[in-house]
Amino acid sequence: MAKKYLRMTLNERVQHINLFINFTILVITGFALKYPEAFWVSPITDVPGGMTLRGFLHRLSGVAIVTLGGYHILYMLFTQRGRGILKDMVPVVKDLRDAWETLKNNLFINRPAKEIKMPRFNFREKAEYLGLIWGTIVMTVTGFILWFEVEWLKFFPKWTFDVARAIHFYEAILATLTIIVWHFYSVIFNPDVYPMSWAWITGHLTEHEMEKEHGLELERLKAEEKGKLVEFGEAAAVGGGRVYPLRGERREKIFPIKRLYGTVQGLNQTIKNWKGE
């Protein structure tokens, strides 16, 4: 049995599915407003009160995504795994170089093709994650302006509302196209993973996928396994060949803010335990 590498914990997969569902609802209900005569909108417009329901759903999913975003911030800050992800997600110059070399490989400028070993999060994923953060902030701010127009227009002139409308629309196009062009290529149409990278359901990548997309991380994990990297001693391979970073011992000193968001950790822990391996 080929070795599998944990990519997404159950918690993260639930977050992803949550984002996936709500993002899709937002895209459909949002563009249904902008293009009410489009053929695919007829299921909404044909129903009496469909447009009203559409608006309600759009706001509901918006709130869901904002809530998810808030949860995600807590997750990234107050779980060890989250902090690890955050650390690995920081863009560095090497990412630009990776992208550049990839392009040169693709265009046969590098002859022979250079072997590029990419870290846990490669330049594709980092760019997308940053884009997601940027897009969520922009859509949340403009979205709330449009939602609470009475409150907003108490203090700001109407043209700011019009600007918010324009940004909300164009950012939506940008976000949707990014998902279709960039994300769907990464996880679906990329010949290395086609027909789909199943990590969003199963939670793990195959060694082949690791090698192609995260060569550096694979090397690190393998070295770790062999005990060469002593400073990462606490993250040993456990659980039927899967690689889990073990949780550290509980710190003797608990910060008040940490206690405040203890529920987040608790939930993560529960979900993890419930996995039962």
């Binding site: 005569e37 909404i44 227009l153 019009d162 164009y170 940008l174 196209l177 290529y185 010949p191």
Partner: protein, 419 residues
């Protein structure tokens, strides 16, 4: 229906005559009647008219006797047929013309001013004469439900000609059959409104006659006979003022509500249904280039509305979303410079507040029908215009770059796999 306009004096004279000679009169009338009916009660009695068509000369005794004229004698109306020569002398001797105006003077006066009589004088064969609408020997008072001129039957009476396809085509009365449209109208459903309610009866005039009830600038008054409050609102509105001044581009009642087929506003087929106001009814003029040019109003408001949240949601079928009338009013639409207008600057806060409770003074400021354009007059329009251009460039570059990058990636990986 004005009834039988038999002058007062006529009645006085008649009653005198009747009281004096009642017995004799009845005797003569009966004698007269039975004498004529001697031949005319024969159902097969016919003659050829000048065009060779067969014409029945049958007169139903029962029908005549139960008619409003049942007490009169044949010669009261057929004044030219004084003796029995007509039966032998044929058509030349039988000057059968009946002159109703002898008794019904008022009606005749009105009729002579009306369109039907004018057409008859011009020689139009198929224009309506008295008997076309009232019947001949079996005339009933218009209050009688069996009467051709009873409110429930007038439509059928008029439709004998005006719903006839050939007739409508011949007389260039338009492609629609008024009777058909009227069948589905809300006026028909009431049962109280019929053709004559709007067109008048004896004196009904042509559409282009300035005295006509359906002449353009008279329409608000015509409708106002039943809808007075609305007409009052309308005549003070910008549309009403312009229409009264003879502006043919300015709408009257029928421009928005339709003509014969007027429907209740809850009816989805009604042009003033809330689903159609902003799609067809107002834009029929306010999105029309010709009218825009003439009145120096632009088509921008319609376009910008369609692209606003209100318009987009409305186009998708949202009836809570504002349409034209929500902000501009219905019958009392006034220009924004009019202090009584709903969109006058001091009234805007209240107008917006109808749907946006708590709308501040600032809420109603700023350009409403704004269109994003870098060349716009309004500052906000310019800003939105630049935001738009910036985003389009951004989208093209970013997404274009992604497509390019991914395409090369896909190509390379595919090529590698082939080897």
């Amino acid at each position: 229906m004005k009834g039988r306009e038999v002058g007062m004096s006529t009645w006085v004279v008649l009653s005198g005559v009747v009281s004096l000679f009642v017995g004799l009169m009845v005797g003569v009338a009966r004698a007269d009647l039975s004498f004529c009916l001697g031949c005319h009660q024969d159902e097969s009695l016919k003659k050829q008219d000048p065009r060779g068509r067969s014409l029945s000369l049958f007169v139903s005794e029962a029908g005549f006797k139960s008619s409003v004229h049942g007490k009169l004698s044949c010669s009261s109306c057929h004044t030219r047929i004084k003796d029995d020569r007509h039966a032998e002398g044929g058509k030349k001797a039988a000057d059968k013309s009946v002159h109703c105006g002898t008794c019904h003077r008022e009606a005749e006066k009105e009729y002579q001013q009306g369109l039907h009589s004018k057409l008859i004088m011009k020689g139009t064969e198929r224009a309506a004469n008295c008997y076309d609408c009232h019947g001949k020997h079996n005339i009933q008072p218009s209050k009688n439900p069996k009467s051709m001129t009873h409110v429930s039957n007038i439509e059928r009476t008029c439709n004998r000609c005006h719903s006839d396809v050939e007739f409508v085509k011949e007389h260039a009365l338009g492609a629609t059959i008024p009777g058909e449209a009227f069948q589905k109208s809300v006026h028909k459903k009431t049962g109280e409104v019929t053709c004559t309610s709007c067109h008048g009866s004896h004196n009904l005039r042509s559409l282009i006659d300035p005295k006509s009830t359906i002449f353009r600038s008279n329409i608000p008054q015509t409708c106002g006979s039943c809808h007075p409050d609305i007409t009052k609102q309308f005549t003070e509105s910008i549309h009403g003022v312009l229409a009264a001044r003879g502006r043919t581009d300015s709408p009257t009642c029928t421009t928005c509500h339709g003509i014969h087929g007027i429907k209740a506003k809850v009816d989805p087929d009604s042009p003033v249904n809330e689903r159609r106001i902003a799609l067809t009814t107002c834009p029929q003029c306010h999105a029309a280039e010709r009218i825009s040019r003439e009145y120096k109003i632009t088509t921008t408001p319609v376009k910008s509305y369609y692209d606003s949240f209100h318009g987009l949601s409305y186009r998708g079928g949202d009836t809570y979303s504002a349409n034209c009338a929500s902000c501009h009013g219905v019958h009392d639409i006034r220009p924004s410079s009019d202090p009584k207008s709903m969109v006058y600057k001091d009234n805007l806060q209240k107008t917006c507040g109808n749907c946006h409770p708590g709308a501040s003074e600032n809420f109603a400021k700023g350009k409403m029908h704004a269109v994003a354009s870098t060349a716009g007059e309004d500052f906000g329009e310019k800003v939105v215009g630049w935001v738009r251009i910036t985003y389009i460039i951004l989208i093209v570059c970013v997404i274009g770059g992604m497509i390019f990058f991914n395409f090369t990636d896909w190509l390379r990986k595919t090529i590698d796999r082939m080897h």
